[in-house]
């Protein structure tokens, strides 16, 4: 234990002499948390619309003014034909075509129904999906308005419609920032966990000092603890800064217990540092460690549920998320921050991450040899 104090003293001195590490622990989280949530925006605005109005009636005019005033669409052009409109899509000027056929108004009045065509450029899937859905929504709304108008005529009986109203629990305004910020905080901790410790150890391999340590009587576990503890503390510092930023900038105050977030983060960082350590035992140079680290981090992130919902993943991918500490933490963060979940709710997550921490760290210790 006495040896450990010398190791820790050395690590902290080196960290405080290295501005790059201090920056990545202190400044990076602030910048990321301030910039990223604004850019990584789930809402789709600015859908470019090409309108083909073959009817030129008062109803079609009404519809066009309704859709352009919705705020989601920007009318780029009126095309004389569907084919012309397709040209705008091909040249990326438009994302969406709405075609109103000949006799739209006449059909509507006479037959009580009319058709309309929506064509979507699906190159950007998210935009196409949401753009199409918005357009469909607006059309439905338009439909209802017409019904309301006509209801006044007794000759037409109201068609019974079922209207769906939904209320969003835990994030009532569907504020994507409240959803993203806790997730981004987790990615920051992930980066610190995976990279800082592994690069640190591999650096010692590169400059040769690790050999001097291997030839000393210091035990494997003391050495590894000496490497883990400083970065574990730095991770918790980053978390604290992150929680402060999300409170000051986004007014996000966790509904649940902050102590619970810290408890989970402590175990989570242990697991991630285990991954970093493991990488460092395999890598000989910092370049190798960086590449492997990036690969692992990409997998953790993309299969972590930050950007896409885990529930909609195929089964094999769901299995990967079971050994992904990031997936657990993102879920737990959202549960605690948005929903105020308590210990009983996250118990299973905590135990899983603890298990992963044990596995990663034992693997790393087994793979670290003082003698080759």
């Amino acid at each position: 234990m006495k040896q450990l104090s010398f190791l820790l003293e050395k690590e902290f001195r080196q960290v405080f002499r290295n501005p790059a590490i201090l920056r990545s622990v202190l400044v990076m989280p602030i910048i990321q948390l301030i910039i990223f949530p604004f850019a990584a925006n789930y809402e789709v605005k600015n859908v470019y619309l090409s309108m083909v109005d073959n009817d030129h009636s008062s109803y079609s005019q009404k519809f066009i003014s309704k859709i352009t005033s919705s705020g989601y669409f920007i009318l780029t052009d009126y095309s004389p034909s569907y084919n012309k409109a397709m040209e705008s899509i091909e040249s990326d000027k438009a994302d969406l075509i709405i075609e109103i056929p000949y006799g739209f108004e006449k059909e509507l009045v006479k037959e009580n129904k009319a058709a309309m065509l929506i064509a979507v450029n699906a190159v950007n899937g998210a935009k196409a999906n949401l753009g199409g859905a918005y357009a469909a929504n607006i059309i439905r709304d338009f439909n209802k308005e017409i019904q309301m108008q006509w209801m006044t005529f007794p000759a037409f009986n109201a068609i019974p419609t079922i209207e769906i109203t939904s209320s969003n629990w835990y994030n009532p305004t569907m504020n994507y920032k409240e959803f993203m910020v806790p997730g981004i905080l987790v990615t920051l901790l992930t980066m610190i966990g995976t990279f800082l410790a592994s690069l640190n150890i591999v650096h010692e391999k590169e400059i040769g000092t690790i050999e001097q340590i291997n030839v000393s009587p210091i035990s494997k576990s003391t050495f590894i603890l000496g490497k883990l503890i400083p970065f574990w503390i730095m991770g918790l510092v980053t978390l604290t800064i992150g929680l402060l930023v999300s409170r000051l900038f986004y007014g996000i105050v966790p509904v649940g217990n902050i102590a619970l977030i810290y408890l989970f983060a402590m175990v989570f960082l242990l697991a991630l540092l285990g991954v970093g350590l493991l990488i460092s035992t395999y890598a000989e140079t910092q370049t190798q460690a960086t590449f492997v680290g990036f690969f692992v981090m990409m997998v953790f992130m993309l299969l972590g549920g930050l950007y896409t919902s885990i529930d909609s993943m195929p089964d094999w991918a769901k299995w990967i998320t079971k050994v992904n500490p990031v997936a657990y933490f993102i879920e737990v963060m959202r549960m605690i921050v948005l929903k105020g979940s308590g210990f009983a709710d996250i118990k299973y997550h905590l135990l899983s991450v603890l298990g992963l921490a044990v596995v990663f760290n034992s693997w790393a210790i087994m793979n670290y040899h003082k003698r080759s």
């Binding site: 190791l7 050395k10 080196q14 030839v215 000393s216 003698r371």
Partner: protein, 246 residues
């Protein structure tokens, strides 16, 4: 009869088909300055790393400070100091911090470290540089410091792998003075070098060629055996036949 601190008996290390160290056998006595010579690639560093417990031997037997190199490496590590070919102090730590760290991981107490480092820094004329980062010291000073750090915990044996590479003659002379002082205190010195004038300073010298020890004796006897005027000539005669290139 003085105590034997290193014994090697047909110690061998193979990397695949390549035999880096081929059945080397010798003994080193306590307090001796043992020169371990050989061309680049002769297998010196490999042998040294096996003695230090950094590398697992393929076959043969060896003991260091009475401990077996296969099973008792952790005990060996408590009894030795090691200065590797690559400079191994932390450049981003000060002189004092380096001494404290290395002494600390060998289990010395903070008070003992404090006391002893004052003496050491005086002896090395480094008292004014206690708080200087090691990276800003000249190479010669760094090497002397690295050696002093390697023997700071008073090991029985110190292994030096080309400790004076790239250092000027005056500093090399100073370095060897430090080695003599350590040997007088009873620390056994196991040193590899490329400088034949340094070989003359050793009590006994072994010369490795292609993984084997071809000659082992005092410098004086070696010169007599090979009818050479200097160690340089002895070395050239032996190493000329080497197959492994630089």
């Amino acid at each position: 009869m003085t105590e034997t601190v290193i014994t090697a008996d047909k110690l061998t290390k193979k990397f695949g088909d390549f035999i880096a160290t081929n059945e080397i056998s010798f003994e080193v006595k306590k307090g001796e300055i043992f020169g371990f010579l050989g061309a680049n690639g002769a297998g010196k560093t490999t042998a040294m790393r096996m003695f230090c417990g950094l590398l697992m031997p393929s076959s043969g037997a060896a003991s260091v400070a009475g401990f077996d190199v296969y099973k008792q490496t952790e005990q060996i590590k408590k009894s030795i100091g090691y200065m590797s070919q690559r400079f191994s102090l932390y450049e981003d730590l000060t002189v004092k911090e380096n001494i404290r760290f290395y002494a600390g991981i060998y289990g010395m107490s903070r008070s003992a470290i404090k006391e002893k480092s004052v003496l050491l820094l005086n002896q090395l004329n480094l008292s004014g540089e206690v708080n200087t980062l090691v990276k800003s010291l000249p190479l010669g000073w760094k090497q002397k410091l690295a050696f002093s750090v390697a023997i700071f915990h008073e090991p029985k044996i110190v292994f030096l792998d080309e400790p004076t590479g790239g250092v000027d003659p005056i500093t090399r002379r100073e370095f060897w003075n430090l080695i003599y002082q350590a040997a007088e205190r009873g620390i056994t010195i196991f040193v590899t070098t490329h400088y034949m004038d340094e070989a003359e300073y050793c009590n006994r010298v072994s010369i490795m060629v292609d993984g084997k020890i071809e000659a082992l004796d005092t410098p004086r006897n070696l010169k007599k055996t090979y009818a050479a005027k200097s160690m340089d000539e002895v070395f050239l005669q032996l190493v000329r036949g080497a197959k492994r290139g630089e």
